[in-house]
């Protein structure tokens, strides 16, 4: 319903204050996660003397570069718990933030193209059901019924052998989500400071006591890192390491089209995922570029392969054109699960490693990270996602397990 029209462009949703000389907590990074964290710190923990420092402009990182897919059909219990909690928050946030950011529960389909895919998918549907996550297995004719433009015949290299389907999954308008959080943060007294790059940290022994920025030094009792692709750079400034590799991840859109694509289709095997934005662009993404990169751009062959896959699956797309392509910098971990918790530096906390799929997690990242920053202890949802898991071996291996990378 709410997805039928675009709201008017808002003018000023937040102030642009000068940084104060001290705050009770400083959040580094004004993407979705930083903003959501600040919001829950203020709302749930009464911490309103806090600032979000963003080196560029608000949501100019991955937040407004992602393909906005929201789903919770992850395999493992720990992931299903945190992503399903996020999905439940997505369902109430438009009202809570008083902002219609076009959250559209149009469903997400994850295609299976091999016998291995089919078995893995059915297993995941079973695991999802046990975890209270809505999930169904669809046969090819049901796939066709839900998304008539999909080619489910066997005249392609990797025919569609079925799909998992999560009806409550969908998309939202990412920049509006950032604005919605930013406006509420601002109303609650949070200072959102753009063009403010953190260049170092002040420490008293092992404890962080302030941040150095291009706009002066700011004293603070607590620091929360929400820097996505730049998490390793900030950790290095603070004197510790993270098990993160930063990769380029690209996406693209076509020109505007009449509504042709009613749901979201993802294929891990032929590596493309597609939805149609409210305005009408076909929005497509694929996997990361293999090499480490901070350049916010990747190699063209990745786009070429994803287009080949898209045209094979959706023959009518052959008439569409690539209008814009872009890249973000995603912070990947070895087990494809995030890190939300404490660090070796006292009073410094880290939220990172959401990699190619952290947009959907934004509300739960904010909720649990705020809890951890405010109380110094993990929320039960982020407890398994600690940095220590790489030492204990309690990895949450969603690589391949969680349908696709996003």
């Amino acid at each position: 319903m709410s997805a039928d029209h675009l709201p008017e462009h808002p003018d000023f949703l937040w102030r642009n204050p000068e940084p104060k000389s001290s705050y009770d907590a400083v959040i580094v990074g004004g993407g979705g996660h930083g903003l959501a964290t600040a919001y829950f710190l203020a709302k749930n923990h009464g911490m309103t003397n806090i600032a979000v420092l963003e080196k560029g402009w608000l949501a100019g990182g991955n937040m407004a570069r992602n393909t906005t897919i929201i789903r919770s059909n992850y395999l493992w219990d720990e992931s299903a718990a945190i992503y399903e909690h996020a999905l439940k928050l997505w369902e109430v946030l438009p009202e809570e933030l008083e902002y219609d950011f076009l959250f559209s529960q149009r469903g997400v389909m994850n295609l299976a193209h091999t016998l291995g895919d089919v078995r893995e998918s059915m297993r995941r549907v079973g695991a999802n059901k046990l975890n209270g996550v809505d999930a169904e297995w669809l046969e090819p004719d049901q796939v066709k019924e839900l998304c008539p433009i999909l080619n489910v015949s066997d005249n392609i290299r990797y025919p569609v052998m079925g799909a998992t389907y999560q009806p409550r999954a969908g998309i939202a308008k990412h920049d509006h989500v950032a604005w919605a959080f930013a406006r509420k943060c601002d109303e609650l007294g949070v200072d959102i400071i753009q063009n403010c790059e953190v260049t170092g940290f002040l420490k008293d022994g092992d404890r962080v006591v302030g941040v150095k920025t291009n706009r002066g030094t700011i004293n603070t009792e607590k620091v929360g890192l929400c820097a996505a692709g730049h998490s390793s750079v900030l950790a290095e400034m603070a004197g510790f390491r993270l098990p993160i590799q930063s990769h380029p991840l690209q996406a693209l859109v076509s020109e505007l089209h009449e509504p042709v694509h009613p749901t979201v289709v993802m294929s891990n095997h032929v590596h493309v995922y597609v939805s149609q934005a409210h305005k009408g662009e076909l929005v497509m993404g694929a996997g990361v570029d293999s090499y480490n990169g901070y350049g916010q751009r990747g190699s063209f062959h990745v786009i070429e392969e994803q287009m080949a896959a898209a045209v094979e699956l959706f023959p009518i797309f052959a008439r569409a054109h690539v209008l814009r392509t872009w890249g973000g910098i995603v912070d990947t971990t070895m087990d494809a699960s995030p890190i939300v918790g404490t660090t070796p530096v006292e009073n410094m906390f880290v939220n990172c490693g959401w990699g190619t799929g952290g947009f959907k997690g934004t509300p739960a990242a904010g909720l649990t990270f705020a809890h951890t920053i405010a109380t110094g202890a993990p929320h039960k949802l982020n407890e398994p996602f600690s940095l220590e898991r790489f030492e204990t071996g309690a990895l949450i291996d969603e690589h391949g397990a969680a349908a696709v990378a996003h």
Binding site: K55, G56, G60, E197, H230, S232, V233, R241, L242, P243, I244, Q245, S246, S290, Y291, N292, G293, Y294, G295, Q296, S299, F300, H301, T333, M334, F390, E391, T392, G393
Partner: protein, 101 residues
């Protein structure tokens, strides 16, 4: 698309290669002496440098040999290609501070 100069085959498209991540990560000399923290470092922690980065590549669809490369992770400029086992060449062409957004 990167144009990578294989030491054996010359300049070839990136699609002929596979990435091997950080170079010069030695297997622990005495694996039995490592504690959990050290194992974690060896298995899961790699440098994630913004700037000149020493990394491994393999020419999978060509000579199938591994080699090392020094590449800027911001500009993606390839600064040096050198054999496995050799030390990373020192370079003055570090990425300028804050060169990218």
């Amino acid at each position: 698309m990167l144009l990578i100069s294989c030491p054996n085959c010359g300049p070839r498209d990136e699609t002929e290669f596979h990435y091997g991540g950080q170079a010069h990560v030695a297997y622990p000399e005495d694996p039995y002496a490592l504690n959990d923290r050290e194992w974690a470092e060896y298995l899961f922690y790699r440098d994630n440098t913004k700037g000149a980065y020493a990394e491994r590549w393999v020419h999978s669809t060509g000579c199938r040999q591994w080699f090392n490369m020094l590449r800027d992770t911001v500009s993606y400029e390839i600064q040096a290609v050198y054999p496995m086992g050799a030390a990373a060449p020192t370079t003055t062409a570090q990425a300028p501070e804050g060169a990218s957004k």
